[in-house]
Every structure is written in structure tokens, then in C-alpha cells.
């Protein structure tokens, strides 16, 4: 408790006579001198205990006790003290010096003061509470204002708009549980057309998480500008973050590099939720191991890659969705997420669908438990007829249509992409390896002979399906001249040095497929490979 004393002397206009309101609180005015004196009671001062237990006016002259507070009050001229008690709590003291008439206080004065104290105490208590609430409200308002500013600042750290990629649809949602968040996402557009994609989640939420988020984002941006491989970016970010991150905090983070031309997505994961590749039939978790950022330096991060085919999408998300609870305490969880995704493969707005489902699951009174962030990347289906081939026949469905730069190794990428799309479409498993070899060789042929390994010149691959066949068309940008008839490889001649050891490609393709045709126009060669489904193959699909 703090003691406040206000000394008031009569102004010059006063005649010095005591006034009827001498015992009421003095009102400062320009005509009076006011000298407040402050004294802080020690909590164990016996005078304080005496006042709490005293029933009414206390005359200090009559008191003798070892009390620094009592001694102080006597020294500053206090004669009587009226404790102001409300609901058993000492909330103030009414301290009076000698009467201005220099007469002693009378018993009437005491009664008046007691009555005054009885009425003043609750009023004072109300005033104190009101002042306290006002102060708290001001403090709250100040903090809320600061948080609003912090949120505005944090929002500037998120992408202001989503990148525009031809034949791709990108969506993102960032919904903090509080004003500010530890979740974040980011995009980096590289000059070669590739897109860096980051989603991250700092432990905890609110201001501490938001501060670490800002630091992490800057570090990741710096690392992504200097390095290419996602695993190396996370490794560098981890080493930079480790010395500065507060104890018991860490950051989970996924960094992926998307090549929009091919659909290739190379990624590394620092303990973040597994991204989901959503195909026409399933949701597949994409795994790559790595420790969260900020826990231990010198960590390495596994890199993996997948290819997104037309119509497929990638879902990146923080744990605010899967760890949300409904009123019965049940968690949203991964099984529900997976079933929602597979039930809604063709959703044009996966995020809206998931947020609707989250709302239904948690109910209207849900207080958001954790930050929720989504990023979805969807490769739009491209449906174009292929002129001059059997592929423009009625009844054919285009399963895939994509291009790859003509660089060594991309024949393997084409092979995996086509294998994945036909496998999910029901292509007979026992012929899949034949198809892979045929696609690989046809693409290698287009890249090497048609496009002369020029990375700027694409090889185009189209996959079509009808009830009784699959057709794969691989087109280069050569054209003009017919592909020369290939010489059937003769191993005896090759071993004898009479033929080049090479020259197996077209031979292998012909051996793997049911039909092979070559189409040539002014600008292109298209190698058409046909796999005819047998009745056994069709029964296998039906089963």
C-alpha cells in the first residue's frame, strides 16, 4: 500500500476560520498550495494490521507501537486516520492533520468521519475498480493495436499475389489462430521458369512464433537465392537458424522446386507434414526425411522428386487442419483428410472444400486451436487433338500431354511420367515394363536425333486411351525429312566391328509395342506407339 498525503494551506483570501468542509477531500485550485507526500507501507508494518482491524477513527497520539509508518505519519502532522475498508479489504486511509481552528476533534467529528468513511469506502472501491479497468482496457487496446500492426507487417512477409504459371492453378490460404502466426508460405520465381515453393510452421503460435517466422523466411529466401537443390537450401537454412533460434523452438518446413514445363517437383522436407500428391484415384504422401530447422546444426536433408501430370495436384498444409478437434474432442486427423481428398479429386478449389469440411467438423463455436495454412498446386488438364495420327480418332481420351526439354536423362523422366499415368488408368501391369522401355527409347530418339539435345527445343509426349488400346505419341521438332529406315541391328556384325554397337532404339520399340508408326510433317516427327488390349487385359481391368 502506498500512502498519499496532500497538504493544503488556506489561501490568502481565506479568513482562516475552519470551514464546514474541512474534513472533505481538498480540491486543488490555483489559490492553494498542494504538496503531496508519498510513503509506502511495508507489508508487515504492525500499523497496517492495526488499521485493518480498527473499527473506526484512529487517533495517532494514543497509539504506541514499533511502526515506521506510524512514526512517519506522526512526523508529517497526521492527527487522526480513518481506515476506508470495503469487503474486508483496506482500500485507503483518510488522514487528517490538526483542525485549522487548532481545537481537538470532537466526538461529533468522529461520528461524521466514520459515517463518511462508511459511505466513501465502497464509492472509492468502485472508483478504484473503474480506474483499474480503464487502465487494463487501455493496455489491452494498446496490445491489440500493436498486434494489428504486427499482423499487417507479417502479411507483408507473405506473397502479395500468387505466381502466374500457364496451365497451372495455384491457391493459398493463411489463417492464423491469433492475430499473428508461426505459419508461412512463400514462392520464388527463378529465371529459368522454375518455381520454388515453401511452406513452414514455427512451434507455438502468436508473437514468439511470428518473430521466428520472419527470421526463418529471410534465411530461407537468402539460401534459395544462392543454392538450387532443395536439400542444400534446407541444410544451409538450418545451419544459419540454429545459433539464433530460442531454445525449445524449431521450424518445420518443406521446400520444393517445381518445373512447370515438365511437372517435375523436387523437394526436401524438414519435418513438415508430408505433402500429398493427388492423382485421379488417390492421395499419395510424398516422403523425404529431414530434421526440423533449428534443432541441430549440420543436418542433411533427403531429396526426392515426383512428376505432376495434367489433372494432378499437390497439397501442402500445416498441422492446424489435421490437429483441429470437434466438440467431442475427436481430432480431424489424416484418415479424414485422405478420404476428403480422394472423394473430391476433381475439386477445382481444394482449399475451399477442406475449409468447409473443417467448419462442419469443428462446429460453429470452434475457437481455432492452431494456425491453418494451405498451398495447392494443380496442373490443369490440357486436351488437344493430335492431328495426323490415330490419336484424333473418336473415342480416344487424352490421359497426358506434356513437353520436356531435350536434355540427357529426360527420357527416363518421360518414361516414369507415362508409366504412372497409364498405371493409374488401368494399363496391364505385366506389359508396363515394355511400355516404359518403348517410351524411354522414343523420347531418347526425339531428344537426341530430332532435337539434337537442344534444351530449348521440347519433346512432346501425349498419352491416349480408348476401350481397346493405348496410344503414345512422341513428337520432336525435327521434321522436314523422313526418319531414315533403321538398319535392323545384327549382333554378330556388331561384335565383328561391322556395325556400330549402337542403333538398338527403334528395334527395341518395335519389339515392345503392338504397332509402331512414324509421322513426319514440315516441322515434326511423331513416333506413334500402340498397345492393343487383349480380352485378358480387359478382364484384368474389369476385375
Amino acid at each position: 500500500m502506498k500512502f498519499f498525503r496532500r497538504q493544503t494551506k488556506p489561501d490568502e483570501k481565506s479568513n482562516g476560520e475552519p470551514k464546514s468542509n474541512d474534513l472533505q477531500p481538498s480540491i486543488p485550485s490555483s489559490t492553494r498550495q498542494v504538496k503531496p507526500v508519498e510513503y509506502e507501507f511495508a507489508p508487515n508494518d504492525p500499523f497496517l494490521n492495526y488499521l485493518i482491524s480498527s473499527p473506526g477513527v484512529v487517533t495517532l497520539e494514543k497509539l504506541t507501537m514499533e511502526s515506521p509508518a506510524l512514526e512517519f505519519m506522526k512526523n508529517v502532522g497526521v492527527k487522526i486516520v480513518v481506515p476506508l475498508v470495503s469487503q474486508g479489504e483496506l482500500i485507503g486511509l483518510l488522514n487528517l492533520g490538526p483542525r485549522l481552528s487548532e481545537q481537538d476533534y470532537s466526538s461529533d467529528d468522529f461520528r461524521l468521519l466514520n459515517t463518511l468513511a462508511t459511505q466513501a469506502a465502497p464509492a472509492l472501491r468502485v472508483a478504484q475498480l473503474a480506474r483499474q479497468q480503464q487502465a487494463e482496457a487501455r493496455e489491452r487496446e494498446r496490445m491489440e493495436q500493436e498486434l494489428r500492426v504486427a499482423r499487417v507487417i507479417q502479411e507483408t512477409l507473405l506473397p502479395k499475389e500468387l505466381p502466374e504459371l500457364d496451365n497451372w492453378q495455384l491457391d493459398a490460404l493463411w489463417q492464423p489462430a491469433r492475430e499473428v502466426s508461426g505459419d508461412f508460405y512463400d514462392f520464388f520465381e527463378f529465371p529459368d521458369g522454375r518455381l520454388g515453393i515453401i511452406t513452414g510452421d514455427v512451434t507455438g503460435k502468436g508473437v514468439p512464433a511470428a518473430l521466428v517466422m520472419a527470421t526463418t523466411r529471410s534465411i530461407l529466401r537468402g539460401a534459395a537465392e544462392r543454392l538450387v537443390n532443395p536439400g542444400e537450401v534446407l541444410e544451409r537454412a538450418n545451419n544459419l537458424l540454429c545459433p539464433d533460434i530460442p531454445r525449445n523452438m524449431f521450424v518445420t518446413c518443406l521446400y520444393g522446386l517445381l518445373d512447370p514445363a515438365t511437372g517435375q517437383f523436387v523437394f526436401a522436407n524438414a519435418g513438415h507434414n508430408l505433402p500429398k500428391k493427388c492423382t485421379s484415384t488417390s492421395a499419395i504422401d510424398l516422403r523425404a526425411t529431414g530434421m526440423p530447422l533449428g534443432l541441430m546444426p549440420e543436418m542433411t536433408y533427403e531429396e526426392n522428386e515426383v512428376v505432376l501430370m495434367p489433372g494432378e495436384s499437390l497439397l501442402l498444409y500445416s498441422d492446424g487442419l489435421v490437429e483441429a478437434h470437434n466438440p467431442d474432442g475427436e481430432m480431424f486427423g489424416f484418415p479424414l483428410l485422405n478420404s476428403l481428398i480422394t472423394d473430391c479429386i476433381d475439386c477445382s478449389d481444394q482449399i475451399e472444400m477442406l475449409m468447409d469440411e473443417l467448419g462442419k467438423f469443428t462446429g460453429p463455436d470452434w475457437e481455432q486451436e492452431d494456425d491453418v495454412t494451405f498451398v495447392t498446386i494443380r496442373r490443369l488438364p490440357v486436351l488437344q487433338p493430335v492431328a495426323g495420327t490415330d490419336g484424333d480418332a473418336e473415342g480416344m481420351t487424352i490421359l497426358a500431354d506434356f513437353s520436356l526439354p531435350s536434355v540427357p536423362g529426360n527420357e527416363r523422366l518421360a518414361m516414369e511420367q507415362v508409366a504412372e499415368i497409364v498405371r493409374t488408368a488401368g494399363f496391364p501391369v505385366d506389359r508396363l515394363e515394355n511400355l516404359k522401355t518403348a517410351v524411354s527409347e522414343a523420347t531418347l530418339n526425339a531428344i537426341e536425333h530430332g532435337n539434337n539435345y537442344d534444351p530449348a527445343v521440347p519433346a512432346t509426349i501425349r498419352v491416349l486411351k480408348s476401350a481397346d488400346r493405348y496410344i503414345i505419341l512422341v513428337t520432336d521438332q525435327g521434321g522436314g525429312t523422313l526418319i531414315p529406315d533403321h538398319v535392323k541391328p545384327d549382333l554378330d556384325a556388331k561384335l565383328a566391328g561391322l556395325q556400330s554397337p549402337r542403333g538398338w532404339g527403334i528395334f527395341l520399340i518395335e519389339s515392345m509395342v503392338d504397332e509402331m508408326k512414324v509421322h513426319t510433317d514440315e516441322g515434326h516427327h511423331t513416333l506413334e506407339m500402340v498397345f492393343i488390349l487383349t480380352s485378358k487385359d480387359k478382364q484384368g481391368v474389369a476385375a
Partner: protein
Amino acid sequence: MKSQPFEAVVRFHEGSATIDLQGEINAFAETALTQAYHQADAQNPATVVLNFTQVSYINSTGIALIVGLLAQARKNHRRLVVFGLSDHYIEIFKITRLSDFMDIYADETSALHEVKNG
């Protein structure tokens, strides 16, 4: 799917050398494969055994590299045998007639047994 760099490691046995191949046999494999064969050849083994157990992919350029090894082996009067091929690549070895010149075994034990007793 991550592209796997090619590696070839040579192990020697009595009268034979086994080359353990790992990764994808395509144009990128040429240097490592040729070096490994020369390393094996330098010890003058009667038989060179190619281990395909860890090979995930062979394209037409890879077939050409194997044809090249076979030509060298025949020139130096060495026998070339293989094991660990998947069914698909066994089929390709048959289509290309490589299997006419290289005995194919399921595993190393049977390959070495045949090398020793064949």
C-alpha cells in the same frame, strides 16, 4: 523417382572377376563401366561376371555399352556371364540376342558355380 548415378565396383575371385553394377546404364555410365572392365581385364580373369542386381534401368545406349564390353571380352578370349537381371531385361537380352553370347544366371552363387565347373 530420383535419377541414380552409375557406379561399378570390381571384385576378384579365383579365375574370375565380378563387376557389381549399380544405378542406371545409359550414356552416363560409359566411363565408369569401361574403367571397371579394364580394371577387371588387367587381372587376366578367364571369366568376367556382370552383377545387375542393383541396376534399375538400361536403355539402348546401355545395351550398346554392354555390346562393347562383350566385343572386348570376346577379343581377349574371356567369357562374359551375367546375373541379377530382372525378367524384363532378360527378355531384352533375348530379343537383342545378347543371351546367345552371355550366359544369364539368377544369382551370384549359381553364376560362380557355373564359372568354376562349366
